[in-house]
């Protein structure tokens, strides 16, 4: 096993991850901040409270989940170890040979893909980013953007290695190539495996979010849908799940919501649905001093903002989870010390804690984990230990410390103790002349001030009328707004139960939410009653009912290649909403 230092030094020297990752992440962090400002002021507080509540009573909520699953006919399974998880899923798959898997970080954690392939199963990673990194063979470098370390040229080379003949490296063409491969696989496979972002205890529904439509296809597999998720992913009620939704996509990808937010309920007739909850040490974490880390909703905001992640990339961590959250959770999940040096992969700048939407004190935890690792003898060589002992004895007394400081001064600065730039006069009041700042340089777009500006940009003035706000936000997502419906061949026409103005989303319930007809349509047309528009996602709680539900936010899309948005992955490029204008 190599150390983080060895891996990071090698990545930096050979792959230069910062060149690709830093510009993307700088923009993403700014955009996320702007997107979160559109959420209700208490969104983070409510999301954090919903997660903290769940961690405080995991077993109680699991009892509710189990009862509701029974009512719905969903299988409830619990895996103590990664090995158990793999065994349970192999058993559930039975004689299934071709399996379509969508993104799951817990899947990475238990090594699901490799284990199932070793067992002779033809498994396809159906998320575009995962499909690409699967060919590369080094694993995802980010929890929501697995291929963010690869530029389009590299991706084209990798796809060519997989047999693709693509004339150029246009992200649209590259994304659609993978879509077609995945789409064909879904035509003929035996089961779908997906993850889950939350499991609602009160109703026994599974909240899963995605952009591409591959989860829609996997979850609606006619025979078998298996969900793998972490034990901690339960949440008390729909209000809690919606609170998570309000911060998850803005923090992860600077979207108001992802294209699809599923609330999966009863399996379809003839379909089996099973959920495997992986413990793998989570119960122990919940009972210990790091319990707050289980609040994590896997948005990846901490790694987006982390300068160490940007400098050395996600693969340097050598663990299924990367960035600050990875550096905290990997040593807690694997107690054998293999990831004990990851907490050192931080300058403790605190950006992770600042951006975390559920209030996890990540950089404080990194500090505590460093002490734990030293106490357990997992880090800190004998030489380092002796050095710190000597240091502490020196700095315990002022005289010895002064002497050490003087020696250090000579050692550190040598002859040129004060390097002063040439041209500075001896007069302390004369400053070297400044040049003009490079205002137009691409990397010099000043960050927005920390306090929201008093003057809002004109396009950011929210119309008071909810229907107008809905129109504005939906149009920004590329949704077609119609005053009246004119039939077209290939339309799938459904009625929305409600809509969200701030995100431009529509809520479909029951039959209207049936995934395959929506994805198979040339155009999806949604009729919307303006009286049912709420301002924020949290306003949907009263409309969600107890059945299968789907929140649609723009057409299916991906940004897995250089974060460039490509619309129309699985499913139509066109989403139209019929919203009659009401005379004032």
């Amino acid at each position: 096993m190599t150390t983080y230092h060895e891996r990071a030094a090698r990545e930096i020297a050979t792959e230069h991850p910062s060149r690709t990752v830093t510009p993307i992440m700088r923009k993403l962090v700014d955009d996320s901040r702007a997107m979160l400002r559109r959420s209700p002021a208490d969104a983070k507080t409510r999301a954090a409270a919903a997660r903290a509540d769940a961690i405080g009573r995991l077993e109680e909520l699991h009892a509710q989940v189990r009862a509701n699953f029974e009512r719905r006919g969903i299988g409830y399974h619990r895996a103590e170890t990664p090995g158990d998880a793999v065994r349970i899923i192999r058993g559930l798959l039975g004689d299934a040979k071709r399996v379509a898997k969508s993104k799951s970080m817990v899947g990475e954690e238990v090594g699901l893909t490799h284990a199932l392939r070793d067992a002779g199963i033809d498994l396809l990673e159906t998320d575009i980013g995962e499909y690409i990194v699967d060919i590369e063979g080094r694993g995802p470098s980010h929890i929501t953007a697995p291929a963010v370390h690869l530029n389009r040229t590299r991706i084209r080379e990798l796809l060519a290695r997989g047999g693709a003949d693509i004339p150029d490296d246009d992200p649209v063409r590259l994304s659609r190539y993978v879509r077609d491969v995945v789409g064909a696989f879904f035509e003929d496979c035996d089961a779908g495996i997906t993850g889950a972002n939350a499991v609602v205890a009160r109703s026994g529904r599974l909240m899963v979010i995605e952009n591409e439509g591959n989860v829609s296809l996997g979850a609606s597999h006619p025979k078998l849908h298996i969900v793998i998720t972490g034990l901690e992913k339960v949440v008390a009620d729909e209000a809690g799940a919606l609170a998570i939704l309000e911060v998850l996509a803005p923090s992860a990808t600077a979207q108001p919501l992802t294209s699809f937010s599923h609330f999966l309920a009863d399996p379809a007739p003839g379909q089996q649905r099973h959920v495997v909850f992986v413990d793998n040490g989570r119960s122990a974490i919940a009972a210990g001093k790091y319990h707050d880390v289980l609040r994590c909703i896997r948005c990846g905001a901490c790694m987006n903002a982390c300068p160490v992640y940007r400098a050395a990339g996600g693969l340097s961590y050598g663990a299924p989870y990367m960035g600050p959250i990875g550096a905290v959770i990997a040593p807690l999940l694997w107690k054998d010390g293999r990831y004990a040096d990851l907490p050192l992969a931080s300058s403790l700048c605190g950006r992770c804690t600042e951006v975390c939407p559920v209030g996890i004190p990540l950089h404080r935890m990194l500090l505590d984990l460093r002490a734990d690792a030293v106490a357990a003898g997992q880090t800190g060589s004998r030489v380092e230990r002796l050095a710190w002992q000597a240091w502490s004895l020196t700095f315990e007394g002022a005289m010895r410390a002064r002497a050490a400081s003087a020696l250090g001064r000579i050692g550190l600065n040598g002859g040129g103790r004060f390097v002063r730039a040439q041209g500075t006069a001896n007069d302390p009041r004369v400053l070297p002349r400044a040049g003009a700042p490079e205002r137009d340089a691409a990397n010099l777009v000043a960050e927005p001030p920390r306090q929201p500006a008093a003057v809002i940009a004109p396009e950011e003035i929210e119309p008071a009328d909810l229907a107008e706000l809905f129109r504005m936000r939906a149009a920004a997502l590329g949704v077609t707004l119609l005053d009246a419906y004119e039939a077209r061949e290939g339309d799938r026409v459904v009625h929305a139960t409600a809509a969200i103005a701030a995100t431009g989303s529509v809520l479909l319930l029951g039959e209207a939410a049936a995934r395959r007809p929506l994805l198979g349509a040339q155009r999806v047309v949604v009729h919307l009653d303006p009286a049912t528009i709420v301002r924020y996602p949290s306003g949907l709680a009263e409309y969600l009912g107890d059945v299968d539900a789907l929140i649609l936010t723009g057409a299916s899309r991906t940004a897995d290649i250089e974060k460039q948005i490509v619309r129309g992955i699985h499913g139509s490029e066109e989403l139209a909403v019929v919203l009659p204008r009401v005379a004032p």
Binding site: V308, L348, W391, A404, L431, N443
Partner: protein, 239 residues
């Protein structure tokens, strides 16, 4: 007139011994009577490396020295954050309460000066251009960014520029720089690029540790740049 102690942190004493003198000059100009605490360390280097026993031993020595004073002005955001946020947690029970009581007397230099009742008596003037480097401890642990900028704004004729990616760490982080030098260098290079793009030839920060790190990098690349603490800038502006 207040009687204050000025804590000259270990690394500052080693790397830029003149800085305590600058801070002392500013405090005296405000009318304070200043006692120097030097040759002490808050324990942060060992603490950040996970060696808490050693950090405790060293910080105890600082607390013992500090207990004789009502106010301990500290010319480093990083050390202030260590003492006020982390040192009490190294002790148990009543000792923790005692440690917290003493730690509560530590004031970061710029915050102390900005809140000083005699601040407006100083005629601060310095003609020229500097760029402000916001240290992570000032920004994220102490929330003192606006205070520093407000203080710099009081210096007449001084143009204070802001860095393009002000919230990004410069890559210092104490032991981090020693343990992961390649990673620290990537971060430092990005910061030096932003400093160069600002056009200013003087970088000002409330934390000298960042400045020492950046200065060593600038020396390596031949970038022309001076580094001043806020204390040094204010002392120069006193005239």
């Amino acid at each position: 007139m207040a009687r204050v102690a000025l804590f000259d942190p270990c690394y500052l004493g080693a790397l830029r011994p003149t800085d305590a003198f600058h801070a002392k000059r500013v405090l005296e100009a405000l009318g304070d009577e200043v006692t120097l605490i030097d040759g002490r360390c808050c324990g942060q280097p060992a603490y950040n490396s996970g060696f808490r026993g050693e950090a405790k031993r060293v910080s105890l020595s600082l607390l013992r020295e500090a207990r004789h004073h009502d106010v301990v002005v500290t010319a480093s955001g990083s050390c202030t954050s260590m003492v006020t946020h982390f040192v009490p947690g190294l002790f148990e029970g009543t000792k923790r309460e005692g440690a917290a009581r003493i730690a509560g007397r530590f004031r970061e230099f710029t915050a102390y000066v900005a809140g000083h009742p005699n601040l407006d008596r100083l005629a601060l003037m310095l003609e020229g251009t500097v760029v402000y480097h916001d240290s992570c401890h000032m920004r994220n642990e102490l929330g003192g960014t606006d205070t520093v900028l407000g203080l710099l704004a009081k210096v007449e004729l001084l143009e204070v520029r802001r860095l393009a990616h002000e919230a990004e760490c410069c890559g210092f982080g104490g032991a981090f720089t020693v343990k992961l030098p390649e990673v620290a260098a990537v971060m430092m290079t990005a910061k030096l690029d932003d400093i160069a793009a600002s056009g200013a030839k003087v970088v000002v920060s409330a934390d000298f540790s960042c400045l020492a790190h950046l200065e060593s990098g600038a020396r390596g690349t031949g970038q022309r740049m001076e580094t001043w603490t806020v204390a040094e800038l204010l002392a120069r502006a006193l005239g």
